[in-house]
């Protein structure tokens, strides 16, 4: 029997919507404090050079300048994202590695003075050869960007499951395709900003971040302050999508300058600095070889990938693994080989972005599957249906499909889009395409190897039981986690949604690894659910003693205590409650015993009722090297059908319709799930058609603006048909798993396959600008 829920699986409006709709919501750049100073950075103008001298004397003399810091003041403690690749320092000591690499920071009484002072710092450089792409960085004799990494190979991965070469021998079709995307930018609307305040040995930093925890640890390690004396608070955040998941230089520099001046220091990125900081999607060059049998069975996949990593590692160690491990699934595939190389280049560091590591690989693979389906004469939907996994299957790289509604997703988009009536029957210039997607529901391990809990949560009841305050360090960055976690708390505790008040994004509220790898609904959700159950248990324990009813014979639902059998006399509890509010105008109580009354009793017996929850994934599969990246407690999947019109005379693509189905396990908030799907599709559309960070020969980003780096406008996106599939994930709270990142997966290949259907041309390079497509069509006609 399906359980009746009161709060989850609904469409309750977001808890933060009102503050955002009225403009009351404060973001980091909106914060101000008495005595606050403003910081500015001096960033390298060269892509690769030795620093011979830094002269700050002129800057120092400028009136209003309060502090100037360089590597001399900041020290050269190495930090980064993965401990195995801590390759950054706060400021460059002797070498700059990309245009934008940070050399110094200034704090001054106003932002203009800070900026002017930064421009007065003189740096003497000795230029080094700039390695601006994978080939030049890997070429013989290329200068090393980091001395310890020969060939500028920052990381490499080699994995094989089964025997790919042997398996190819038994295949009827074996084909190889090369695919390349372009470096992307997060395109979030809010540039990074922070305010740091150091007082009496305690550092507090308000920052636009996706992970207060990682920022706290990095600040602590680099600045040498105990973790317990570093507090990181996330105000409202205007989107992240990955690039805000790690500590950044302004958080470190502002903190350092606040420590030195004793005054709060604020720093805000310009839009150009957002592009220079990057930490966004890598450029991937994939070469995929796939082998299938005549009957359409996919047998083997060989994947070679080169990633243009930029000057530092950032999240790139995870990226390189994901670029291999996320393929195969959601298809049954016994043999898979992966060789990945992440190459250092003299460009801003790349990192994580929505669909981390897997987006280009997915686009390449799903387009290749489309080609193979055509070669086999099979309908692309049927071909996929023949190969997909189902709940209970395990991939060759040991991912456990504890739930997988892949068939349901494919069926839904086929039926919802009119696929069968349209495929192969559209006029020239119109096309329809399909693709599938697959993603982790949270990284199985923290980015630093550790036994830590991934999420904790605390719920504290008010004395009268009328309010449940939920404390979590989880990061609401726009995706809706504050609402989701409040819903989970209310449902698990058995109280009304409005009785839960969430305090989030603050390291003082617990441990949470943050908003990345599509993890918070499942992982933070688990912790919150456990905390709520802990509170409930405590309240029911007290009630059990009072009423002499076994604890397990009671439950709380919708604010009322439910008794399994009969109804005990609870008049004493009720009068005790009334007594605590003597002289108050009493609102009438319902017939049943309310949670409030029970909670009041619990407070009187035990003091403040506090419930705790903590979550880390149980034992996950995979004993091979790299198994930590890709293994997850659960996996989301999706399918999508896209229709396009191609203007054959100009090559311009218009996306006419998108039908998307995503298996999120169980939708805690249906509106939010749709919102994540629609936003993912929009980002996918941008990446497919427009988005590309471009550099000049000097390593400078030449389109560092939202005018020349094009994210879709309201006129570029069609309305999307969103279909929610719920496969009930056993490892997720209430059966929920991810949607935030995985939903982007099928968009690009579905667009590419539709473009082929419309034009007969296969595009192996993103973005498919009108010029690229026009040229490809023209060359094909020749």
């Amino acid at each position: 029997m399906k359980k009746t829920y009161h709060t989850v699986n609904s469409r309750v409006p977001r808890v933060d919507a009102r503050a955002k709709a009225t403009g009351e919501a404060r973001y980091a750049a909106d914060l101000a404090m008495p005595g606050m100073l403003y910081g500015a950075l001096l960033q390298s103008s060269l892509p690769h050079a030795r620093i011979l001298n830094i002269d700050v004397s002129r800057a120092k003399m400028l009136s209003g300048v309060k502090d100037i810091v360089t590597a001399k003041e900041a020290g050269t403690v190495k930090y980064g994202v993965s401990p195995a690749r801590y390759d950054e320092t706060v400021f460059c000591a002797d070498r700059v590695r990309y245009v934008g690499d940070e050399i110094a920071a200034v704090a001054a009484r106003d932002p203009e003075t800070a900026q002017e002072a930064a421009s007065l710092i003189r740096v003497e450089y000795e230029p080094l050869p700039a390695l601006l792409d994978i080939d030049s960085a890997m070429s013989d004799g290329a200068v090393l960007i980091h001395d310890d990494f020969p060939g500028n190979i920052g990381a490499e991965v080699h994995q094989e499951f089964g025997d790919v070469e042997e398996a190819f021998k038994g295949c009827d079709i074996v084909r190889t395709d090369r695919f390349v995307n372009k470096r992307q930018d997060g395109g979030f609307l809010e540039p990074q900003a922070c305010v740091a305040q150091y007082a009496e040995g305690h550092l507090t930093v308000w920052s636009s971040t996706q992970s207060v925890h990682y920022v706290q640890r990095s600040l602590s390690m680099v600045l040498g302050i105990p973790i317990g004396k570093v507090r990181v608070i996330k105000p409202y955040v205007g989107g992240g999508f990955g690039p805000k998941a790690a500590v950044n230089t302004i958080e470190l520099a502002a903190s350092l300058m606040s420590m030195r001046t004793g005054r709060p220091v604020k720093m805000v990125f310009s839009r150009e600095q957002v592009f220079m900081h990057s930490r966004a999607r890598h450029q991937f060059v994939h070469e995929l070889t796939t082998g299938v049998k005549k009957d359409g069975t996919i047998v083997a996949l060989k994947n070679t990938c080169h990633l243009d990593g930029g000057a530092y590692s950032s999240f790139g160690i995870a990226t390189i693994y994901y670029a291999g491990s996320l393929l195969g699934a959601p298809y049954k595939l016994a043999n898979m080989k992966y060789d990945g190389y992440r190459i250092y280049t003299n460009k801003p560091a790349c990192g994580a972005q929505r669909g981390h590591g897997g987006v280009a690989a997915r686009a390449a693979f799903e387009q290749q599957l489309d080609i193979i389906a055509h070669e086999l004469g099979m309908d692309p939907v049927e071909f996929r249906l023949k190969n997909i996994m189902k709940t209970g299957d395990v991939t060759c790289n040991d991912f456990n499909m504890s739930s997988l509604g892949m068939k349901e997703c494919l069926d839904a988009v086929r039926d919802g889009s009119g696929w069968t009536e349209k495929k192969g029957k559209l006029p020239k210039g119109k096309g329809i395409g399909v693709a599938c997607g697959f993603f982790v529901s949270g990284a199985g391990y923290p980015i630093y190897r550790s036994e830590t809990f991934h999420s904790t949560a605390t719920i504290r009841l008010s004395e009268d039981g009328g309010g449940a305050n939920l404390y979590t360090a989880a990061a609401e960055i726009g995706q809706g986690s504050d609402t989701i976690l409040s819903q989970i708390a209310a449902e698990a505790l058995g109280v009304a949604f409005g009785d839960v008040k969430i305090y989030s994004g603050d390291t003082d509220f617990g441990i949470d690894l943050g908003a990345y790898s599509s993890r918070q609904t499942l992982m933070s959700g688990h912790a919150v659910k456990a905390a709520a159950e802990d509170v409930k248990r405590q309240v029911l324990e007290v009630l059990s003693d009072e009423l002499n009813v076994p604890r397990d014979d009671m439950d709380i639902e919708n604010g009322i205590v439910i008794f399994a059998t009969g109804r005990p006399d609870f008049s004493a509890v009720r009068s005790a409650y009334a007594k605590e509010h003597r002289g108050w105008v009493q609102s009438s109580l319902p017939e049943g015993l309310t949670f409030k009354e029970a909670a009041r009793l619990a407070f009187l017996k035990r003091g403040v009722i506090v419930g705790n929850g903590a979550y880390k994934p149980g034992e996950l599969g995979g004993k091979y090297k790299g198994a930590a990246v890709g293994t997850s407690p659960a996996y989301g999947c999706s399918a999508q059908v896209v229709e396009v019109s191609v203007d054959m005379g100009t090559g311009r693509v218009t996306v006419d319709s998108m039908t998307d189905a995503h298996d999120c396990g169980f939708a805690i908030n249906r509106t939010n799930v749709e919102g994540q799907m629609q936003g993912s599709l929009s980002m996918g559309l941008g990446e497919a058609l427009f988005e590309e960070v471009k550099f000049d020969g000097g390593g400078r980003v030449i389109n560092a603006s939202l005018g020349e780096y094009r994210i879709p406008t309201s006129l570029d996106m069609p309305n999307v048909r969103t279909i929610i599939i719920e496969s009930n994930e056993p490892n997720g709270p209430f059966g929920a798993k991810e949607v935030g990142e995985g939903a982007i997966m099928p968009t690009i290949p579905a667009i590419l396959n539709a473009i082929y259907d419309a034009t007969g041309v296969r595009m192996n390079e993103l973005p498919v600008t009108s010029e690229r497509l026009y040229t490809a069509i023209k060359n094909k006609v020749k």
Partner: protein, 297 residues
């Protein structure tokens, strides 16, 4: 954050006062109208004037008026004003289309026709339509008064014949003869917030609905240092009966009437091909319009 450099600001109340201020050539002065170009360039540091003179309080340079056969557009008239104007929609729908393709609604509420001309951007949206329509630009200095056609106004990217002491006051258009049609097509990456990769404005006037082409203008944008007329293409149309073949021939000629470069928005070869594609389309649409009742009647 991006900051504006320091500058002095003047806000004259009358045109003579404004011209008087500008006549002092000692100071590096810029005129601001909508500011959507100037302020961006100042923030990026490519322009750093010592003084800015705003036209905002000047009377008589904003709005669209029609006197008999002449429609006058004040230079401070915004792209949104043009897009909203019934007079423009009736008499010069091609100008409305061009105005609506400029930037975004927010930009169109500030950007003025005078500014769109004065900044002399090679991909500006209004000049191609204005050239196609035979517009005249009125310029004033403290002591002089001249009227020029946009064909000669532009010299190169960001460069024009506009004197440092000179202000554009008005753009005027004569209503079009019968059996005239025009079209403007802008090719951009996105559907809004775009600068043209290539844009083409075409106008043709027929002798009669089934007659020969008596007059034609084809203006190519973003494929030369300024918007340029495709003179050889225009020549091929004159005295001929309209047909798809004729338009295709003209469009091929237009490809050599321009000098596109490869830049951040597109390659030279692609641009040349797009000149052909958009010329054919604008001519076909202009012809369709000319065969109907014509515009400007």
């Amino acid at each position: 954050m991006l900051f504006l450099p320091r500058f002095d600001y003047e806000e004259p109340r009358t045109l003579p006062e404004a011209l008087d201020i500008l006549s002092d050539l000692r100071s590096d002065t810029k005129v601001i109208a909508g500011g959507t170009d100037l302020i961006v360039n100042m923030k990026k540091g490519s322009v750093d004037p010592a003084r800015i003179v705003s036209l905002k309080r000047l009377k008589g340079i904003r709005g669209i008026t029609r006197k008999k056969e002449i429609v006058a557009i004040g230079s401070y008239t915004t792209a949104a004003d043009i897009a909203r104007s019934d007079v423009i929609a009736r008499s010069f729908p091609v100008l409305r289309k061009a105005a609506l393709s400029l930037g975004s609604p927010l930009i169109r509420n500030r950007a003025t026709i005078g500014g769109n001309i004065a900044t002399a951007r090679p991909a500006a949206d209004l000049p191609p339509a204005l050239i196609a329509l035979g517009a005249r630009i009125k310029l004033r200095t403290k002591g002089t008064n001249r009227t020029v056609i946009p064909d000669v106004f532009f010299i190169g990217p960001g460069r024009s014949i506009l004197g440092k002491d000179e202000i554009i006051t008005e753009i005027s258009l004569s209503t079009l003869p019968p059996f005239t049609g025009a079209d403007y097509i802008k090719l951009g990456h996105r559907a809004a917030l775009e600068i043209a990769i290539v844009a083409v404005a075409s106008r043709i006037t027929l002798d009669s609905p089934d007659g020969v082409i008596r007059d034609a203008r084809i203006v190519l944008s973003a494929v030369a240092p300024t918007a340029v007329r495709a003179l050889s293409a225009e020549g091929a149309l004159l005295g001929e009966y309209p047909s798809d073949e004729l338009f295709a021939k003209a469009a091929s000629l237009a490809m050599n009437d321009c000098s596109p470069v490869s830049d951040i928005r597109g390659g030279a070869d692609y641009r040349r091909d797009m000149v052909r594609a958009l010329t054919i389309r604008t001519l076909a649409n202009a012809y369709r319009e000319a065969c109907g009742q014509g515009v400007g009647l």
